[in-house]
Every structure is written in structure tokens, then in C-alpha cells.
Symmetry: none
Subunit: 203 residues, 4 copies
DNA sequence: AATGAATGAGGATTCATTCAT
DNA sequence: GATGAATGAATCCTCATTCAT
């Protein structure tokens, strides 16, 4: 009995589509989308240029699938972690996850930041932007830990988010990068600062 | 006594070279260099495309002059501020300056991050990279404030630097951005966290 | 039995690549490469400009393929002719071939002379330069005919080569050009001069 | 008594105009006019680009002045030499002069050949073209030496002219070039060939 | 499912030329 | 007599995209 075509399919290392996704991710890790050509992506994936169009329809579509995939994955996992019981440890876990995520999907931070800056905020926002969703998540956990004046919540959450992404991105780009746990501890100092200067949560 | 020709020179609104610099800065604030065309820069500056090449030789040169200018200015001012007497307030001033700087030179963070990622660290490094110079500055000030284990210094300084740049950049890109002082206070929480968990400096 | 697709391929008038080659050859016959634009070549070949780059990568590459093609063809044929038995007639045939060659590939002389002048002799010479290969060929044949002092061989061979190329090129450029056979006879006078003033070969 | 301004003028090494002429000559020796920029010429002459236009009005004008200057000089001198008494030696002298001329004005051959090829022969010819004037000169001298059928005169004269220019040009471009006298002797073989195969002139 | 050939719009750069000083 | 700044047309080249096979 020979292998069914179905099986053989699954055996073929990875599909063209996946290969392209990986290749694009790697290339977009250090360069802006405009600086990466479809040719380059295709040949890095070992397929022909036409295959990019066959699978993704356009360069922009490939790029935004990477962005969307990352955004969804980041949010999904972060939400999962955020439900844990001990808020301080939850925050730490969230940071750890974020660091690892950035290391695995290096293109993500780039693409996301670029998108943030280009922002035509005008668009009828269908979903809440990633940024808000993540800061909301952080705020929820912080609320379980300390009492913060409403006006400070967003800046603090944004700072935690930003420090995490920035550190992770910068260090993963250089072989002499900082250790993940060192970075996590440094960012957690923000929380330590809060704990030291604000009353504990009362709920 | 009439105005000297020297003075009249300076009066001519601004020179083509400066106009180009400003225009490029503005355009590069939200888009990568590859995504901004020379045509666009030239017409934003109100000069012909050829003038870009007359004054800067190439697009790359224009871009790197913006980067260099920013790096030097940032470092020079930060160094000046860092010499103040009260370390806690010094850090606050440094952050304030950094925030304002990013607001004035929005292209800078973009260009700098991009450059960090492209990193051909191989080059015979002539000057210490901006990143190291700034973190060294921060570490010096921190040392005057608290006692930190050697291994933690760099992660903490990097986090402060990163959080500042990231926040400043993100907020200055959106009209709904956070207030400068809110951001400064949020970042200063890192220092508060240190003060709460480490012994004070003993010098 | 119908024509194979292989055959049908070959039937399609001529491929873009070949059309470009021909067009470039024609245009380069009377103008330097710098004076012929890629646009011009493309439209003379009836293809789009992009096709030049798809097929040749750069203008320089197209030009040097023309040069290389010509050099190889010239040398190959000349070598073939040089093996004939009667040296005087061999020389005549070589000249006839050279004349016809120049008429068919008018761009060749231009490109080759230009290249000779630009000479970066520094390069690690991979093959013996065309010039030397041809003069060596001529010298071999002359040796079978007359006895020439070593020091005179190269000048004489060079003169034959040069006179042939120059005449052929000049005449093929003007409709009032000289007849091929007249030119051949004129150049052969060099050989006649040798025969009249040097002892016959003794081998 | 101080130097008069008039004198000082004459002292100034060479005028801008002459410097430009020399610089252009040198640069055009190995490259086509299209491949040499006005910038390059100006800076090789150590003057500003504007000065080219001040002195010559246009690049084309500068180039054709070089060509014209050379053509006139070559013809004038050659004519002078051609009037000598002994025809064989006259031809030799003409060749010697031509060789030296090409060595001194290396751009000339290039420019002239280019012009020959681009030839819109249609133009209402004001003066007889250089080529004809020179070959006529050669023919006159040859006539004093041997009897040549009318139809062979032009090919032979052209060959002498061509061989001379070509050899001179090629050798002056390379430091390993042939010696002038070797080249002259080689070209003179054409005359030897004539002498050996044609009756002497009878006039 | 995939590709190779071809395209044309756009982008960086060069360059002859003009002109005010 | 000479220059530096500026220009815009032309040039080389890149690249996302299309399409027949």
C-alpha cells in the first residue's frame, strides 16, 4: 500500500504558502516592507515570484497577514495569561510571553509600529486597536494589584507595553542582546515602583 | 549703516538645504526612508529634485545627515542635563528633554531604530554607538542614586531609554497622545521601583 | 504528426532576448554605448524597457555580451580559416572573413576599440586578450610564408589586423564604401611588401 | 618697476580656456564625449563648471573645437610634409608625423572616427572632408612613386591612413605600446608591396 | 499549484544648461 | 572673467503586478 496523495502532501516539508510566510517574516524583521522586494521574499522561500501572487494576491496582503497573524496571536495568548490568579506573577508572565513572542516573530514589532505611525485614525474602527486591547489587559491586572488614579492608568500601561516591546526588539536584533529575564526584571521595576508609591488594591 | 550681505544671506527665508532637511524630517517621521521618494521630499521643500542631489549627493546621505544631526544633538543635550546635582531630578529632566526632542525630531526614533536593526556591527567602530553613550549616561546618574548590581545596570538603563523613546514616539504620532508629563512620571516609576527595592547609593 | 512544441517555440519570430541583441547591435554600430539609451534599444526591439533588464540585467551586461559574442565568433572563425594549407591564400581568406564579419557585426569594432582604450590592464587576465590571440594567429601564418625578425612580427601583425578592422569599419559605415575585395587587396599589399623584402620561410 | 598687469596675465600658467581644452583632450582620449561629463572636465581643469559655458558656450562646442583644431593641424602639417622631394621618404615622414600627432592629441582619433560613423553625409559639404583630403595627399605622393590603376588608389591610400591611425591610437593607449618606428616600418610595407608589384612612376 | 516572461509605472541619479552675483 | 546654486529633462534601474502556459 503506497502513501496516499493526501499523506504525501503533508509530508512535503512545508507548503509554498508557509515558506513564503516564514521568509517574509525573517526579511521584514530588519527592514521595512518597502525595502523588501517580492523577488527577495520569493527567492528566500525558494519559490518563484508568481507564487507569491498565487498564494497571497499581493505583497500588501502578505504583509498584513503577517501583521494580523501576530496581532491575533499576541492578544490571544496575552489574554490567556492575564486570567491567572496572582497579579504580580501574571504581569511577569505576560512580559515573558511578550519577549518570547517578539523573538519568534521579529517582524511583528516593526510592522506594528509602522502601522501605528502611518495611522489614518479616521477609518471606521472595526475592532479595538491592538494597542488599546493590550493596555486594557495590563490595566485590568494592575487594578488587581494597586490603586492607581484613572489618569495614570494608561500612561503606565503604555510604558510597560512599550518598554517590553522595545527591549525585546532591540535585544533580539543583536547577538549581544540582553537576557530575557534581565529585561523582564527591569520592566517589572515599573510595577515595583507602583507598589511602593500607591496603596494596594482594595477590592 | 546697512545690513551686511552676510546678514541678508541669512535672511533669505531658509536655504534650500535647510528646507530639504526640514521637509525630509517631516516626511520621515511616519514613513521609512524607502517609502519616501526624493520627488516627494523635493516638492515638500519647494525645490527641484536636482537640488536634493546638489545639496546632499544622495538620498541616503540626506537621511543619514538627519540621523547624525539628531544623534549628536540628543547626546549633547542629554550630557549637559546629566551633570545636574540632584540625581532623581536629573533623570526626570533627561526624560523631559528626550520627550521634547522626539516631538521636535519625530523622524529620529524611526531612523535610529531602523539603523539598530540593520546593524552591521562589523564596521570598525569609530565612535561609541549612541545607544551605549546614552545608557552610560543613565547609569552614571543611577549610580548616584541607588546601588545596583553590575549585571542589572544595563537592562535597567536600556529599559528607561527604550520606554522613553517608544512612548514619546507613539504618543507624538497621534493627536490623542499622552501628555508629556504623564509619560515622564510613568517612566520614572522605574526609578521609584529601584529606590524602593535597592539600597541608596553610598558614595 | 504535428510540430513539437519545441519547434513551435523556435518559430516565434525571434525571442525578446534575441530581438534586443539585434537592436542593440544595430544601434551600437554608429554610436557609443553611452550615447544609446536603453529606451531606444527596447523600442527598436519592440519590447518594453523592463524586458531589457529581465533578459540582461543591465545595459552594461547587454553591451558586453555583444562584445563577447563578437570576440568569440571572430576568433573561432579566424582560427578555423588559419588552418588552411596555402599561407598567402589563408591570409586573404582571413581578411575576407574579417571584412564580412565587421559588415555583419558593425558594433563590434566600436565596442572593442573602446574597451581597448579604457584598458584596466591590471585585472588578473583570465584569457589572453582578443588582440593578442588574433595577432598570434596572423604571425603563425606569416611564419609559414616569410622569415621576419622577431621584433617585427608584432608590429606587422598588428598593422594587418588594424588596417583590416579600420577599413572594414569605415567603409561599412558609408554607402559609398569601398568594395570588400579592393580593401582585401590593399591590405594584402603588406604581405606583398614582406614577400618582396624578406627571405621566404625555410621550414 | 613692478610687472604690468598685461605681463602678469601672460604669466598666469595657462588660461582657463586652455586648461579646459587640455583637460577635455585628456579625458576624451579614452572615452566618448557622452561618457565624459562637463563636471569632470571642469574639475580636471581646476575650474568651475560655469567656466566651461563661459568659455565655450556648450559641451558640444568644446568637443568640436577639439576636433576641428586637430583636423586642421593634422591636415596643415601633413600638407607641408607632402611637398618634400623624395616620395618614399615623404610618406615615411607623413607617417611619423601622424604617429606623433596621435600621441599628442589622443582624443582626436576617437572623435574623428565617431564623427565618421555618425555621418549624415547629406549635409551640404562646405569643405572636403578630412578623410578625402588626407587620402588625396597620400595619393599624390604615391603617384610620384608608382603607377597604380585608378580604382586601386583610394583603397590603398585609405589603408595607409587607417593603419597609421589605428596603430598609433592603439599603441599610445597602452604603456606596452609598440615603438613609433616599428609601426612606421610596418605601415611602409604597404608601399613596399606596391613598389614590388607595380611599375615605377613614369612622369 | 506554480512559474517564467513581460510590463510599465515610479524611483534614484546624472547632467547639460541657465543665471544671478 | 568666473562661480555656485539651482533646475528639469533624460537616464538607468527596480519592482509590484499580470498572464499564458
Amino acid at each position: 500500500m503506497s502513501a496516499s496523495p493526501d499523506t504525501r502532501q503533508r509530508v512535503r516539508a512545508t507548503s509554498s504558502k508557509e515558506r513564503l510566510f516564514e521568509a517574509a517574516m525573517k526579511l521584514l524583521a530588519t527592514r521595512s516592507p518597502e525595502a523588501v522586494s517580492v523577488d527577495e521574499i520569493a527567492s528566500a522561500a525558494g519559490v518563484s515570484k508568481g507564487t507569491v501572487y498565487y498564494n497571497y494576491g499581493s505583497k500588501d496582503e502578505l504583509v498584513s497577514q503577517i501583521l494580523d497573524f501576530g496581532a491575533q496571536k499576541l492578544l490571544r495568548e496575552l489574554t490567556k495569561v492575564a486570567t491567572g490568579p496572582a497579579p504580580y506573577l501574571v504581569l511577569k508572565s505576560m512580559l515573558e510571553f511578550a519577549m518570547d513572542f517578539v523573538a519568534s516573530y521579529p517582524a511583528f514589532v516593526q510592522l506594528w509600529m509602522q502601522e501605528q505611525l502611518g495611522a489614518d485614525t479616521s477609518s471606521v474602527f472595526t475592532t479595538m486597536p491592538l494597542h488599546s486591547q493590550v493596555t486594557n489587559l495590563i490595566i485590568d491586572v494592575l487594578d488587581r494589584l494597586v490603586e492607581i488614579p484613572e489618569s495614570e492608568k494608561l500612561p503606565v500601561a503604555t510604558t510597560i507595553f512599550g518598554a517590553a516591546l522595545f527591549n525585546a526588539r532591540m535585544s533580539s536584533a543583536r547577538e549581544d542582546g540582553l537576557e530575557r529575564d534581565q529585561m523582564v526584571r527591569a520592566v517589572m521595576l515599573i510595577v515595583d515602583g507602583l507598589l511602593a508609591t500607591r496603596p494596594a488594591a482594595t477590592n
